[in-house]
């Protein structure tokens, strides 16, 4: 599989870093690839801009910073504004469709896939797991992680007692992404 550079963006409290961490963990620990993670936070615990850069490759990664991602996964309008211009032409945009409205700033050839992750998480009982819905959506649309690997990574990354709900959130996002792909939506 070729090298993939990913940017995850959103607000503090949405679980941006955890979602990026799980993506990297699934690839590196359970899919046997290489992964790096760079994270940046705003000064507040919640509500400030927050992003992470993840690189996945079959080979050792020499430079972990991501300037122009192949995949942009965003969970807030501010993150869309901040990062959409950096997405590679022909790249993949994954976005929270209830929070973010797309406009003409999309780079050429970008494939955009939206998921109402917050709503799906609320339907499951907890808005808190919206980031895990996004991780599932990421796996379902991009195919960069095997479902088994990402499931194991979620299980190992969330607090004890919350595994069931997190796994349901993962599968919700995964299935949503797979259905969107098979329906040919864009």
């Amino acid at each position: 599989m070729p090298k993939s550079e990913i940017r995850v963006g959103g607000l503090g409290g949405q679980g941006v870093i955890l979602s990026a961490h799980i993506i990297g963990k699934a690839a590196a620990i359970f899919d046997g690839r290489h992964a790096t993670l760079i994270q940046s936070f705003g000064p507040e615990a919640r509500g400030s801009a927050c992003s992470a850069q993840v690189t996945l490759d079959d080979h050792t990664i020499g430079y972990p910073y991501v300037k122009y991602p192949d995949v942009l996964m965003i969970m807030s309008p501010d993150a869309y504004t901040q990062f959409i211009g950096q997405l590679k032409p022909g790249g993949t945009l994954l976005y929270e469709s209830d929070l973010i409205k797309l406009d003409d700033r999309l780079p050429e050839g970008v494939r955009a896939f939206g998921v109402p992750a917050t709503r799906l998480a609320e339907e499951l009982g907890r808005r808190l797991v919206l980031n895990i819905v996004m991780v599932g959506f990421f796996a379902g649309v991009t195919g960069l992680l095997s479902p088994e690997a990402v499931e194991k990574a979620v299980k190992e990354s969330v607090p004890r007692g919350t595994e069931d709900l997190n796994l349901r959130a993962l599968h919700k996002g995964l299935e949503y992404g797979q259905k969107l792909l098979s329906a040919g939506s864009n």
Partner: protein, 199 residues
């Protein structure tokens, strides 16, 4: 609510086996048989007349709407126990769910109630419930012990709140278990905040 881990085979204290599984509409008539088989005194603890087909119809509708989760213990074709989780799907107590458990007399003292209750508590936590409550009459010693073991604490006593089969007024105990700490750990994990030290 995640119920795809079922059916689960459970070995009881006397080495007999039952299967725990969610109630489905096909099996609903067996639930009516189960409740009709409970001693009259036990049925007094229940809030509705569970021997009537109209009750079953209403109950199955609640299960289908997701307002009630029903786990049954099945031996052969018969239901020998049931645990239910009652939760409001909107409003100010959405985070709270009530647990109710009933076991057939011949399956008591075998830890079946405990097994059912443990599974329903697990389902409750996984669906985001933060607080569980159970209502027990003061003289339901075994039920109280079971909830004690599962981490429930007595939260309130409603004096002379219920009448037993002889018409004697009894205290009703409200037991509860706060499971919100599990979700606090998750909240901390998604806070996206990494403190820095020094310059």
């Amino acid at each position: 609510m995640k119920i795809d881990v079922f059916p689960q085979k459970v070995t009881l204290r006397d080495d007999s086996h039952v299967e725990i599984r969610p109630l489905d509409a096909d099996h609903a008539p067996a639930l009516l048989d189960f409740y009709r088989g409970l001693p009259e005194g036990d049925r007094l603890y229940l809030r509705e007349d569970v021997t009537k087909p109209e009750w079953l119809e209403r109950f199955v509708a609640l299960v289908q709407r997701g307002e009630v989760v029903s786990l049954t213990a099945v031996a052969g074709d018969a239901i020998v126990g049931e645990a239910t989780l009652h939760r409001s799907l909107h409003g100010w107590t959405m985070h709270v769910a009530e647990v109710r458990v009933n076991v057939a007399p011949e399956y008591r003292r075998k830890a079946l109630g405990h097994a059912l209750c443990r599974e329903i508590v697990r389902l409750a936590i996984s669906s985001g419930v933060e607080k569980l409550v159970a209502h027990i009459m003061e003289n339901q010693i075994a039920a109280r012990r079971m909830f004690d073991h599962l981490g429930f604490l007595q939260e309130a006593v409603l004096r002379d709140h219920v009448k037993d089969i002889r018409g004697k007024k009894r205290d009703l105990l409200v037991m509860s278990s706060d499971v919100s700490h599990i979700w606090h750990a998750m909240e901390a994990l998604v806070a996206d905040y990494s403190p820095t030290f020094g310059d």
